[in-house]
């Protein structure tokens, strides 16, 4: 179910990322102020944008979960936030490397963009422990969705607050103050597309793996003669319990 189109998506991701790398190193001109160091921008900024959009998407999926009570939306929200956290770690590391090269410091506490991103990251770092702390799968999903919605709403507010702040050490990429030349803009957009596709591909891989595990568990129960419907996973887990789709259940042979 989740694996459909995964091959095409993976190939497209690799192709777009290869094109993006080619554009970054052989097409985009050197920036006048920062020189070669500015090449980090093509990986750091798309990572940050995709991570933040992923957090917001996780919140939107959580709304769907609360509306429909369908555990598949909880799973999608969980995977979106989980993957965004990984991308956020990459953003923080690449940002620190850039800061060291550009400003001579790994971290600048007076910089609102850096600190606000760290706050968002730390906020979402509590998502997994929150899930793990709740044993009942139904309650776990509900509480996690409420958290994802509130935190998801915090992300754009936080972004706006930083934009409105006066201190502007951090270079602006998007908006009226951005003055990227056409070649740099194209390279940036292709890099952004590549990173977004990477995010989607990894999410799809994760969802496919989780769905396959759920099917395997259901098959094991069926062979053991246990009931599959509504059965909770064994042991405590932060990951949501994925209910099998009717088609998946129907396609699995029943044993007495």
């Amino acid at each position: 179910m989740y694996g459909r189109g995964l091959r095409t998506l993976s190939i497209t991701t690799v192709a777009v990322m290869a094109i993006a790398l080619g554009l970054v190193f052989f097409y985009a001109p050197l920036e006048a102020e920062q020189g070669f160091l500015q090449k980090i921008f093509y990986v750091h900024v798309p990572l940050a944008i995709v991570a933040l959009c992923g957090f917001v998407a996780g919140g939107l999926m959580a709304i769907q979960h609360l509306r429909t009570r369908d555990p598949r939306w909880d799973m999608r929200s969980y995977v979106a936030i989980h993957m965004s956290l990984i991308f956020a770690v990459a953003t923080l590391i690449t940002g620190s490397i850039w800061a060291k090269g550009s400003w001579g410091h790994w971290w600048v506490w007076s910089e609102p963009t850096l600190v606000s991103f760290l706050i968002v990251f730390l906020l979402y770092a509590t998502y997994q422990p929150l899930r793990f702390a709740i044993e009942d799968p139904e309650r776990q999903g509900r509480y996690a969705s409420v958290f994802a919605i509130l935190a998801g709403a915090f992300v754009p507010l936080n972004f706006l607050a930083v934009r409105l702040s006066t201190e502007y050490l951090h270079p602006r990429v998007l908006g009226s103050s951005s003055n990227l030349p056409a070649k740099m803009q194209l390279t940036f957009l292709v890099s952004l597309l590549g990173i977004a596709l990477l995010y989607l591909t990894l999410c799809k891989y994760e969802l496919t793996a989780k769905h396959t595990r759920a099917q395997l568990r259901a098959l094991r129960r069926r062979l053991a003669g246990e009931s599959v419907e509504g059965a909770a996973p064994r042991g405590r887990s932060a990951a949501p319990h994925l209910a099998l789709s009717p088609s998946a259940s129907a396609s699995t042979p029943r044993s007495a």
Binding site: G101, L169, L216, L223
Partner: protein, 71 residues
């Protein structure tokens, strides 16, 4: 003051740029490695289930009748 720092020369900036791109690829590689471990676990579990289902099929099917095979 930090913003007007002069650009680093290529030989010095190169290590930072390489570092940033290596981080991205390391994260993807680590993820692929984790997926490979998960895949092998799924494969092992599927093998176990297959064996179990074969055993239960053998146990359920009646033993072959000797007379009919001799005749």
């Amino acid at each position: 003051m930090l913003a007007i720092a002069p650009a680093l020369p290529l030989h010095e900036a190169g290590k930072y740029v390489a570092g940033a791109y290596v981080v991205l690829f390391a994260i993807v590689l680590i993820y692929v490695a984790i997926m490979a471990v998960r895949l092998s676990r799924i494969e092992r579990e599927l093998g176990d289930l297959l064996k179990r289902s074969e055993r239960s099929t053998e146990a359920q099917s009646p033993p072959p009748e000797r007379e009919s095979t001799l005749a």
